[in-house]
């Protein structure tokens, strides 16, 4: 008996080895295809041979947030025909001295551009920027570049609030459809929102989403719950289920796991997500997602370094730059005419005729928001310092790239 078992196990091992080998051949075929693609695009004129980019990520591909940065980098690498030696990615770098070490090592390795993707990386990137003056340090979601005023330290973000507004429009149309079909009455059009942390980035996001929904469905209201974590499948699932049980008929989220979309699919409640299309995990409920595409910013910076031109201290990607995107609309879930409406609103946003935070469209404590001082310049005491309401709208992401809209408007309840 033991001998038979042993023979079986050996056979299994041999089989596995062959399986692994044949898979290997597949990937080398893929590689050949990429090489072909590389040679095809080799004609843009700018010399990228001296470019070497380092990317520092808080987590790895398993986090939708970091994956978004990594995939965009790989796309750019392919498009600009950069070799593997020219793109170094360091994953799982914590927000500590390890980030400075990673940045310094990348600079030592000859990188002339270093990116970092997490908010907490900022002060370590800054530390490295002061030491390596010839290297450009670009930090996503950071807030201090405009006050530090270094030539080689830059912040970047995207006007994702515009993307969320648009996703909100799709959600509002869905609510209208539910009302029209008699599934709910107008006063029951309550949205549930699973947020990560009670910070400006999340508040700005859910407010723009809500304003988008209410622009088409006037009776919409919204409940927000926080999970106090960027990535927690169980908590996000629980939060979504609680919201659904308390009467929310549509869910959206600003947290990085599949917890909420899957809970929605189980309960048959429409869901709007972020960063990735959730249609594969919720074919009957995933409506649409908004996302930031970092590729345009990478290319901008690479171009600037290759040509020796300067880089914006604060960069805000928009629909126009291709940085703000919506993922595929799920026709199975979306209300009729949604795509046409989205195109129309997107054109208005691009043209600047429509402002997401138009003060005529919302109230705070029953009053119009005539003036608001936001904490734009970071300091220890978090003192509000900049007037951000003028010309009838709240100027989000204009005085620095990272969001600073942190007001709770009427119609939204934080639970």
């Amino acid at each position: 008996m033991k001998k038979i078992l042993a023979i079986l196990m050996v056979l299994a091992l041999v089989f596995c080895t062959f399986a692994a080998c044949s898979k290997k051949e597949d990937t080398s075929a893929d590689q050949a295809a990429t090489d072909q693609a590389k040679t095809d695009t080799e004609s843009s004129g700018t010399d990228y041979s001296k470019i070497k980019i380092g990317l520092i990520c808080l987590h790895d591909e398993n986090s939708t947030y970091d994956n978004n940065f990594i995939q965009a980098m790989k796309e750019v690498q392919k498009e600009l025909n950069l070799s593997d030696e020219q793109v170094l990615i360091k994953m799982n770098i914590p927000e500590s001295d390890a980030c400075y070490t990673a940045a310094a090592e990348l600079a030592d390795a000859g990188c002339n551009i270093v990116f970092a993707d997490s908010f907490g990386h900022e002060s370590y990137m800054l530390q490295a920027a002061k030491e390596f003056k010839d290297v450009q340090f670009c930090h996503a979601t950071g807030t201090t570049a405009h006050t530090e005023k270094l030539d080689n330290f830059h912040n970047a973000f995207a006007a994702i609030y515009e993307g969320r507004y648009l996703a909100g429009v799709a959600a509002g149309m869905k609510l209208n459809e539910m009302i029209k079909d008699g599934k709910i009455t107008a006063d029951k059009a309550k949205i549930g929102y699973v947020g990560a942390f009670p910070y400006a980035e999340v508040k700005s996001g859910y407010t723009s989403f809500f304003l988008g929904a209410r622009s088409v469905c006037e009776s919409a209201t919204m409940d927000v719950v926080y999970t106090n974590s960027w990535f927690d499948i169980a908590l996000e699932r629980e939060a979504a289920l609680n919201l659904i049980n308390s009467g929310c008929v549509l869910i959206s989220q600003h947290a990085d796991s599949e917890g909420a979309p899957k809970a929605c699919e189980e309960k048959g409640v429409p869901d709007v997500s972020y960063n990735i299309s959730t249609i594969p995990m919720g074919p009957n409920t995933a409506l649409i997602s908004s996302k930031i595409d970092w590729a345009p910013y990478y290319k901008l910076v690479i171009d600037a370094v290759a040509k020796g031109t300067s880089i914006d201290t604060d960069y805000v990607g928009t629909f126009a730059t291709g940085s703000v995107k919506l993922t595929e609309l799920n026709d199975k879930v979306a209300a009729e005419g949604t795509q046409a409406k989205l195109d129309e609103v997107e054109a208005q946003l691009k043209a600047g005729t429509l402002h997401v935070f138009d003060t005529a469209k919302f109230t705070v404590g029953g009053k119009t928001l005539d003036n608001y001082k936001a904490d734009v310049d970071s300091d220890d005491k978090f003192t509000p310092d900049t007037e951000v309401v003028k010309d009838g709208y709240f100027h989000e992401s204009e005085f620095r790239s990272a969001p600073y809209f942190d007001v709770i408007i009427d119609g939204i309840t934080e639970k």
Binding site: K24, M91, N92, S96, E105, F119, L126, F382
Partner: protein
């Protein structure tokens, strides 16, 4: 069905405890284990990633020794891991399973940060650093002494107790950060970046050198303490048998509490070195899992502080190498972690062959006949 029944079916192998092994034989087995681990890893590398294993191993070495900065970072990582390992060792030798190093380090770091954050700009730097040091050590002691007192007085289970104290420490740190940084993203960032108040100064232009020297000194001190002091002897006896200890007049309760004070104090010191000498910030990941890795370092070295230099070097080297191969070969860090896991598995596994011998039943029977 009336065949003569064989004597009870015997297994193919027998495992027997070895008496002892000559030192060079033991090291030969360890050497073979490392070579075997490298061969298995090479297979994994070739099959999964189709890279050249020699190049991958080269990159691992480069990750630790590729530049001056990398070497200093390696030494710093060794120093921190070693410091926490030194902290857990006396408790382990006493068979007090202190799984709370992570929390003790965190509390030590938190105490440093409280001083750095609140009185950083009001005191001369030397005095501030001294206060931070004392505060950290006290914090670590408090976190270590609570489970020790409960163990000594009511014989509570110290593994669960210390483990749970970790969570309290994590929540306290999260709470403190929320109070200090009410907006943003729950991230402290560098504290006192402009004044460097509470930062351990560079020595000969090297920012980690003070950390490394302190831990080097501590290693020697711990070696002497465990080997030659009365305390060291007492805690070893308590570890072997509490009844024997009582019989020869050792106050077991006192030894447990005293040893955990020492353990907690060194963890607190590690917290201080991480906040003041390394990160200049605090987060709940301050200890970065080293509180648990330290257990392995300490066990692998059989609680010998000098050997722990080698084991902590091994772990730190593998960690740094793993990061390097992930970056230079564009692999997911999980692949690097698999390789690290295989190597550690072999190294721990070979200890089995040093302590036990495996004999096939047939050869044993032959011996008996003789």
């Amino acid at each position: 069905m009336s065949k003569p029944v064989k004597a009870a079916k015997e297994p193919l192998f027998h495992i027997a405890k070895r008496n002892s092994m000559i030192w060079w034989k033991a090291w030969l087995i360890r050497g073979i284990a490392i070579v075997a681990a490298l061969i298995v890893c090479a297979l994994i590398i070739v099959l999964l990633t189709k890279q050249n294993p020699i190049e991958v191993y080269g990159a691992m070495i480069k990750g630790s020794f590729g530049s001056e900065r990398k070497m200093w970072t390696l030494f710093q990582n060794i120093a921190m891991l070693l410091c926490i390992s030194l902290a857990v060792t006396p408790a382990f030798k006493m068979k007090f399973w202190n799984l709370g190093a992570e929390g003790q380090v965190l509390i030590g770091g938190l105490c440093s940060m409280v001083c750095m954050f609140n009185i950083g700009d009001r005191l001369p730097n030397a005095l501030l650093i001294l206060i931070m040091l004392v505060a950290s050590i006290l914090g670590g002691i408090i976190w270590g002494i609570i489970p020790a007192v409960f163990k000594a007085k009511w014989n509570t289970n110290e593994s669960l107790f210390t483990l749970m104290m970790n969570y309290i420490a994590i929540q306290l740190v999260s709470f403190a950060i929320m109070v200090w940084v009410p907006s943003g993203s729950s991230v402290m960032g560098l504290v006192n970046a402009s004044t460097n108040a509470g930062w351990l100064p560079d020595l000969f232009g090297q920012k980690y050198l003070i950390n490394i020297l302190i831990v080097a000194f501590l290693t020697v001190a711990m070696y002497i303490y465990l080997r030659s002091s009365k305390h060291g002897y007492e805690l070893a006896v308590v570890g072997e048998s509490e009844n024997t200890a009582r019989y020869i007049g050792i106050d077991v309760k006192k030894v447990i509490i005293r040893t955990m004070i020492l353990s907690g104090a060194i963890c607190g010191l590690a917290g201080f070195l991480l906040v003041s000498g390394t990160n200049h910030t605090i987060s709940k990941d301050l200890a970065g899992g080293n509180g648990f890795t330290a257990i392995m370092v300490s066990w692998l070295a059989k609680f010998n502080p000098i050997l722990m230099i080698i084991t902590s070097f091994l772990i730190a080297f593998l960690q740094r190498g793993a990061g390097e191969i992930a970056t230079s070969f564009n692999l997911n860090t999980s692949v690097a972690d698999i390789l690290t896991g295989v190597i550690i598995f072999f190294i721990i596994g070979c200890e089995f062959f040093i302590n036990y011998q495996v004999k096939s039943t047939r050869s044993m029977n032959k011996e008996e006949k003789k």
